[in-house]
Symmetry: C2
Subunit: 338 residues, 2 copies
DNA sequence: CTGTTAGCGCCTTCAA
DNA sequence: TTGAAGGCGCTAACAG
């Protein structure tokens, strides 16, 4: 039952294996009659081309490698949905590589990915430093395998196709809105670990703060809930002066909102809070979190679509693809359009 | 730079290609001297075996197919982390197939997975009905490809290796605890869509309820936050009599907790709530959610480990692997050990 | 311990 | 429109 090969099909359909191959890959080059006959036999035998043989002979795998950090991050998981749906359109398979901190052996992993003969690579890691960027670029040129960055970027260069939102602008806008509310002591809650995207958010925040002649205040904490909860509680116990906050992730924002409530400050009367991403956390929190809606599924889909174009050799004129974001006002802020 | 083949290596190391192949796959069968020489050349040339050729010749891919439903479910994403880490140990790659509702074309997808020459299949979908089970079993036997079910099960048969917790018992215990608190009107909040695991939770709930001579009350709602929020609010507006609830998912529990708070009932004085899974939602919600800790990462790892054993032809004596769960008491219940 | 030799299943010219 | 034949890069007996 198992291994119907192209030979079996050819024999049963009374044609040569070349014809079978053609009806599968270049149907128009086969006479309709024979084509149908072959297809019928294929169905009867439940024949599926062996992916290895196909790949070996054609040098193509219709598979893309997806390199992701920690899968449990909500944004990463959701992006994968977008990628998967788009990939399905082209009948592409997804080979997943979870990095989990060990960025050190990234060169190794990357070469492994390439060796597995993927047609292209999607890089979802949202931390990119110069070394990584250089490495990615080298890999892309050396092995001629297209690479697309999704929801991350390297702002100092643009050799790699990139899909993301304007983090800088988004953070700038959020901060401006808080300033518009009349807030004076606005904090940025970001990650202690360096992320390029978070650095951009920080810059956007700083710009708005400076323009308003305010004092920048940045808290660097952990992405881990139990850790940053303690951190935030400490902050309040020390009697911090604060009336607004922009967090680089929803989960951090929710942690912070919880700390505010526990310390009996009112939201948003005393303190306004913005999150970043519009994950499920934002709508499950109380008060409901105002946040930036990052079209994360679209980013995934767009990245996959662009990768497909690159694979097909189509020129990509716009390397840097910025998708539109929007700000969702819920209950942790009092922004008004006026 | 790209395509160093085994021939290049053989030539440069002054040996035959067979020796190169051996130093890679059966190092002990090669004289240490030559082995080192070959390895040096391999490194110099940056040689990586072509996965297709290897797979075609050896009939093995060191790749497992992972079939998942909606990736954005927190439990699914976290399980993937466990799987990825374990897979890395064996140098196995993961080929992901996201199902996204289209269960109807599941047969198609499954055969596709098989055609892609995976060595084994991990099935994370937590909905399994008779047809699906039969299909999986057929595939397993027909193609002789091992399949392991992770965090799901088909209770009426045990041909497929399964890794999960005792959902029935967990729900039974939760309900018993609520009864122990003196609760009389205990609801089960479950999904409208049929999930085998949720059915088991329901049975556990029913058993405890019946034993206590109480009236079972089951609410079937959506997993979608915006939908079930409306649903729950309606419930309270209708003046439902309720003093306890067991939800089949944390996110549903949190939605419910929010509804309770909005309708000015006290937690846990008036109503106690248990969630299920111990996702991030549980610790981010306020009050913090009491819930069942499902060792989801371990389940993933264990499933991968068992699959690896099956692939290696080792006999698996225990088909049904139940991992221990524990109940985490936080602030939405008032259970006491007494 | 090492080399030789068949394939693995499919794609792709090149002829017919 | 179809068939024949070579080869993709590697593994796995089988000799030596």
């Amino acid at each position: 039952m198992n291994k119907a090969t192209i030979y079996n099909v050819a024999y049963a359909a009374n044609v040569s294996l070349a014809t079978v191959s053609r009806t599968l890959n270049n149907p128009q080059k086969v006479k309709p009659e024979t084509r149908e006959r072959v297809l019928r036999v294929i169905k009867e035998l439940g024949y599926k081309p062996n992916a290895f043989a196909k790949g070996l002979a054609s040098k193509k795998s219709t598979t893309v490698g997806v390199i992701v950090p920690d899968m449990s991050r909500a944004s990463v998981a959701e992006m994968l949905n977008g990628i998967a749906v788009e990939a399905r359109k082209y009948s592409y398979s997804l080979l997943i590589y979870v990095m989990k901190d060990e960025i050190s052996d990234e060169p190794e992993v990357l070469r492994e990915v390439v060796a597995s003969q993927v047609d292209g690579i999607l890089y979802l890691n949202d931390e990119i430093n110069e070394d990584q960027y250089t490495l990615l670029n080298t890999i892309q040129e050396e092995y001629k395998v297209p690479i697309v960055l999704a929801n991350t970027l390297y702002p100092y260069d643009n050799k790699l196709v990139t899909v993301c939102i304007d983090y800088f602008k988004a953070a700038y806008e959020l901060t401006k809105r808080l300033i518009g509310e009349g807030r004076k002591d606005i904090y940025l809650l970001t990650t202690a670990r360096k992320y390029m995207v978070n650095d951009l958010k920080e810059e956007g925040y700083l710009k708005a703060i400076k323009e308003a002649g305010l004092q920048p205040k940045v808290v660097r904490t952990s992405g881990d809930i139990s850790v940053n909860t303690i951190h935030f509680n400490e902050l309040f116990r020390e009697g911090v002066t604060i009336d607004g906050a922009v967090a680089v992730r929803d989960s951090i924002a929710v942690s912070f909102v919880n700390a505010i409530v526990e310390h009996h400050r009112r939201i948003p009367q005393d303190i306004s809070v913005y999150g970043f991403q519009n994950t499920k956390y934002a709508s499950l929190s109380r008060p409901k979190l105002s946040t930036v809606d990052v079209p994360i599924i679209d980013i995934g889909a767009k990245a996959m679509a662009l990768l497909k174009k690159e694979i097909d050799g189509e020129p990509i004129d716009i390397k840097f693809n910025v998708l539109p974001h929007s700000i969702i006002e819920r209950s942790t802020t009092q922004f008004s359009e006026e």
